[in-house]
């Protein structure tokens, strides 16, 4: 069978010939199916992860499938010490989260210890999964933030964002990266909201409906009264705060705090770009 070669040997023309199969390389050494899967991740609404010396925070944008629909849940708990946020095909996210949940349980049953975050690994079906994960976990070796991509790469991050217009969020995170290690949980969340805000068009805003926030880590002073009040989920013996999504009231509180700092435009705290620059970044990346 002769394939019609429509034009010259430019890279773009190879796509159609070498992209039908996950296991076919293109002459330029690329696996186009995986690249297409990565595109699926970029279609999903953004999620941001940031970690400090003690905590990992996930902040995600929840899309609404139309005026009458509910907001897509974006934060999934895998075990007491680990959870994910995702961007991409929701059905693939569901399949993979179920698999990761059973892996966590299996490891815990066999070895009497929580699955170390790094070892939650990809599974492959007949095609790459069209979803990217940000995995937040805390184990004996401290807090961890990993990205799992459809390419099968597992990368360790201090802060990261994936999904639609995530580059703008990453730019914000790069600007503030020096602050994260010693930030409080509230500050991590504030930065997460700031980064997430960058991915939205200027006419939309973060609300208590379209934002999900999750937290996992260990507090410094578990017996301190203010800490006990701030972390109702905290285990008092050692200050461990299990992975959990924040309640509506808590999200609301953090949103208001973020709006205050962003609104005043204080250089140190709300140094993230105000709406104008953010809007500019939005329009060019469509």
């Amino acid at each position: 069978m002769v394939r019609s070669r429509c034009c010259t040997n430019s890279p773009s023309s190879f796509r159609n010939q070498y992209d039908n199969d996950i296991s076919t390389f293109s002459p330029h050494g690329r696996l186009h199916q995986i690249e297409y899967a990565l595109e699926a991740v970029k279609q999903g609404s953004a999620c941001v992860g940031i970690k400090s010396d003690r905590f990992v925070v996930l902040v995600a944008l929840q899309r609404q499938g139309g005026e009458l629909a509910s907001y897509q849940k974006k934060v999934v708990k895998l075990d007491g010490h680990m959870g994910i946020s995702f961007a991409g095909l929701t059905s693939d996210a569901r399949v993979l989260s179920n698999y990761l949940r059973s892996e966590c349980m299996r490891h815990k049953m066999t070895f009497s210890r929580p699955l170390p975050t790094y070892r939650a690994s990809h599974r492959y079906g007949s095609r790459p999964y069209g979803v990217g994960f940000l995995i937040a976990g805390h184990d004996a070796a401290g807090p961890h933030l990993y990205e799992f991509s459809p390419a099968g790469n597992c990368l360790d991050y201090v802060a990261h964002a994936i999904g639609s217009r995530a580059q703008s969020a990453r730019t914000y995170l790069e600007k503030h990266v020096a602050e994260f290690a010693t930030s409080s949980v509230a500050d991590l969340i504030r930065h997460g909201l700031g980064a997430l805000r960058e991915t939205m068009p200027s006419d939309k805003d973060l609300t208590v409906e379209n934002v999900a926030i999750a937290v996992v880590g260990v507090t410094e002073n578990p017996s301190d009264e203010a800490t006990i009040a701030a972390f109702p989920h905290m285990r008092k013996e050692d200050g461990f705060v299990a992975f959990h999504a924040l309640s509506r009231e808590e999200v609301d509180r953090h949103l208001k705090a973020h709006q205050q700092t962003a609104g005043t435009g204080a250089a140190a705290a709300g140094g993230d770009a105000p709406a104008a620059a953010a809007g500019e970044a939005m329009d060019t990346s469509e």
Binding site: T110, S112, Y118
Partner: protein, 273 residues
């Protein structure tokens, strides 16, 4: 000759008669069974189970003391009533904070050692700052022993796992049925009847204050008593100490014994009584 009894009488590809290295499952190259038998070392032919132990080790004793745990075994692998192999090490370190001791079938223990080695290698390969402690190793062995019992293909051992898990002393025992038990003194085999009362009396309540020298003396005495009373034991023993500085398995040494009293017993002594 073909040392694999399960291959005798089996049709083999021509030219293959002298290939004594071929593993039975692959020997009949044309006949590859899809369902492998339960254990990885058994051929893909008739299934084989350990139905009774052949070469066996006797008691394992262990206790918690001030700085960690101590475990003792003798160096004998018996072939029924024959004291066959007298320099066998029945305790192995796993990582640098765990020791596993075994009584029962020695070939099954060697298989378990192989599995533990694989575990250690996997843990080493994954550079995420985690280390396997005694509780993790114990959990794993429990699952293995129970899974095998559920297939009616036992690993004919009683395993004792001891060490320090994040600074805390741990001692556990799992048997061929997957039954687990954790305490500050553990003894298997004859030790469970003869040694356990001695260990409990000396150790219980004093786990955090019992000094190392006293613990060592106690273990030596207990192994001596076992040598006198257990007909399948030896007075050449090893003692393992696990503390903050790691796992230390001693060289084998002999315990002194006193048989002079037999002189005065009619039928046992040399003198005519």
């Amino acid at each position: 000759m073909d040392y694999f009894p399960l291959n005798w009488g089996k049709p083999r590809a021509t030219g293959d008669e002298h290939n004594w290295l071929a593993t039975p499952g692959m020997a009949g190259a044309h006949a590859r069974r899809a369902d492998m038998s339960p254990t990885c070392y058994a051929p893909a032919g008739p299934t084989s189970h350990t139905s009774s132990p052949i070469v066996t080790g006797t008691s394992v004793v262990a206790l918690k003391y001030k700085d960690g745990i101590m475990m003792a075994t003798d160096c004998l692998a018996s072939y029924g009533s024959l004291a066959r192999f007298r320099d066998v090490e029945r305790m192995v370190p796993v990582g640098n904070s765990t020791v596993v001791g075994a009584s029962g079938d020695i070939s099954d223990f060697q298989y378990i050692q192989h599995q533990l080695k694989d575990l250690e290698i996997d843990e080493y390969e994954t550079p995420d700052g985690h280390h396997l402690g005694p509780e993790n190793v114990f959990g794993y062995l429990h699952r293995v022993m129970y899974a095998r019992r559920s297939k009616m293909d036992f690993l004919w051992n009683t395993l004792v796992v001891g060490g320090l898990q994040d600074g805390k002393k741990y001692l556990g025992c799992v048997d061929m049925r997957g039954v687990t038990y954790s305490a500050s003194t553990i003894a298997t085999g004859y030790g469970a009847y003869i040694a356990q009362p001695l260990l409990r009396k000396a150790v219980e309540g004093r786990e955090d204050t019992l000094p190392e020298e006293e613990a060592r003396k106690l273990l030596n005495k207990v192994m001596q008593v076992l040598f006198y009373r257990d007909a399948r034991s030896l007075n050449k023993i090893q003692v393992t100490t696990v503390n903050a500085s790691g796992v230390h398995i001693s060289e084998p040494y002999s315990l002194p014994t006193e048989w002079g009293f037999a002189e005065n017993i009619r039928g046992y002594g040399a003198a005519q009584n």
